[in-house]
């Protein structure tokens, strides 16, 4: 895959690195960082800034017996080195898919040429994570965003007023953007979408569709 051309806003990466994103958006960013070296490095640097802030922090005296209590809590137990070695971020999404491939999901019809698979993302803070599949030529009616939405292109391609989007690309949109993505190419376009609040549709069709699409 060529390098992604569309990236999250730096602000979003800064929120991710600080652990401030809701779960759904955190999964999308982690999945993008897997295929985007540039963003992985940005996240890495942001984490290093978190470390730099800690190294510079003004110390606050710990309670007198804090060290003893801490040592007691460890039970002198050290985890083996491989204990935490888990497969990496697509991993985050894999856990949601329960080991199934995208093709094997129980896709629900929402509109002609549009299917979706909704996943619970309730670990912390509200957010919804879903995969949406558009046949070429299909898309989402014009809409804007009340909350913040992150879309990661998993397969295929779509275009909207902002440009063309392909596998690995992220659309990091907020209420300032209105868009109408349409899938193109030979294969269906599959997007991983995280939303932290309902979308707001601008057309009558969209309003009718909204209850079905649940976007």
């Amino acid at each position: 895959m060529s390098n992604p051309q569309h990236h999250p806003r730096y602000e979003t990466l800064a929120d991710f690195a600080a652990g401030r994103l809701d779960e759904a958006r955190a999964v999308v960013i982690a999945a993008h960082a897997e295929v985007c070296e540039q963003c992985a490095r940005d996240i890495d640097a942001l984490e290093a800034i978190g470390g730099g802030v800690l190294a510079n922090a003004e110390p606050a005296a710990m309670s007198a017996d804090a060290l003893e209590k801490t040592l007691a809590m460890t039970g002198a137990q050290i985890m083996p080195a491989q204990a935490d070695e888990r497969p990496r971020p697509a991993s985050a999404l894999d856990a949601y898919l329960g080991g199934r491939s995208i093709d094997a999901l129980n896709w629900k019809w929402v509109a002609p040429g549009v299917h979706q698979h909704v996943m619970k993302a309730q670990g912390y803070r509200d957010g919804v994570l879903r995969l949406v599949k558009f046949a070429p030529g299909k898309g989402v009616p014009v809409h804007t965003h009340k909350g913040e939405e992150l879309t990661l292109l998993m397969r295929g391609a779509y275009r909207d007023a902002l440009g063309e989007w392909r596998a690995g690309d992220i659309a990091d949109l907020d209420h300032e953007h209105t868009h109408e993505p349409i899938a193109f190419g030979d294969e269906p376009c599959v997007c991983l979408i995280a939303t932290s609040a309902p979308l707001e549709f601008k057309t009558v069709l969209g309003k009718v569709l909204q209850p079905f699409v649940e976007l």
């Binding site: 991710f16 779960e23 996240i43 730099g52 800690l54 080195a81 935490d84």
Partner: protein
């Protein structure tokens, strides 16, 4: 234990903390851990209190973070992050875990998803220490209010809007201070990009 003497100096040369972590990983060395604790626990507590935690809560949380530092010491990879960066990630993930536990009490705390990785992804080993030293340096040079905004961004357990309220500032001010702070520190990094 007599290990509580302040050895903050060891932290200033950047190298020693990483060695101490290695010593804990290899033999569960309690003296090495005591030194790590003397340096990091009060700093973790300090940032948590700046973020609004009470003295007692911050003390408890700092202990919890240090328990994880001890237990996970073998997972630390010096080629990927400085000790401070790794401990930042541990503290961050502990916070995320706490929020998730509150939302879903039955959740397996070791469930793999959604906690960002503790070891960052950098593979540029030799540049790492220099880079982290430059970052630390750049953070000290920030104007106080930008440094505060940055600290709260990384360590306060509340949304930016609540941080702004607590500081008695408009949200936009907090966000622009944070943006300026990150931009300044980031300039230090762009140096060895390409």
């Amino acid at each position: 234990m007599a290990g509580g003497e302040k050895k903050a100096k060891a932290g200033e040369n950047g190298r020693a903390m990483e060695d101490l972590l290695a010593a804990v990983a290899e033999t569960g060395d309690r003296r090495a851990f005591a030194e790590l604790f003397a340096y990091f626990a009060p700093r973790v507590k300090g940032v948590l209190m700046k973020g609004g935690a009470s003295d007692t809560d911050a003390d408890d949380l700092a202990q919890e973070v240090m328990v994880k530092v001890f237990k996970k010491a073998k997972l630390y990879d010096v080629s990927k992050a400085s000790a401070a960066t790794w401990i930042f990630a541990i503290a961050r993930n502990a916070r995320i875990d706490a929020i998730r536990r509150a939302a879903k009490p039955d959740l397996d705390p070791d469930e793999p998803m959604l906690v960002p990785e503790e070891a960052p992804r950098a593979d540029v080993v030799c540049e790492l220490k220099q880079r982290d030293a430059r970052i630390r340096e750049a953070v000290t040079r920030l104007p106080a209010e930008q440094r505060e905004a940055m600290m709260l961004h990384f360590y306060a357990d509340e949304p930016h809007s609540a941080i702004a309220e607590r500081l008695g500032l408009p949200l936009g001010t907090v966000k622009s201070r944070l943006r300026l702070a990150i931009e300044k520190v980031r300039k230090e990094l762009d140096f060895d990009d390409e």
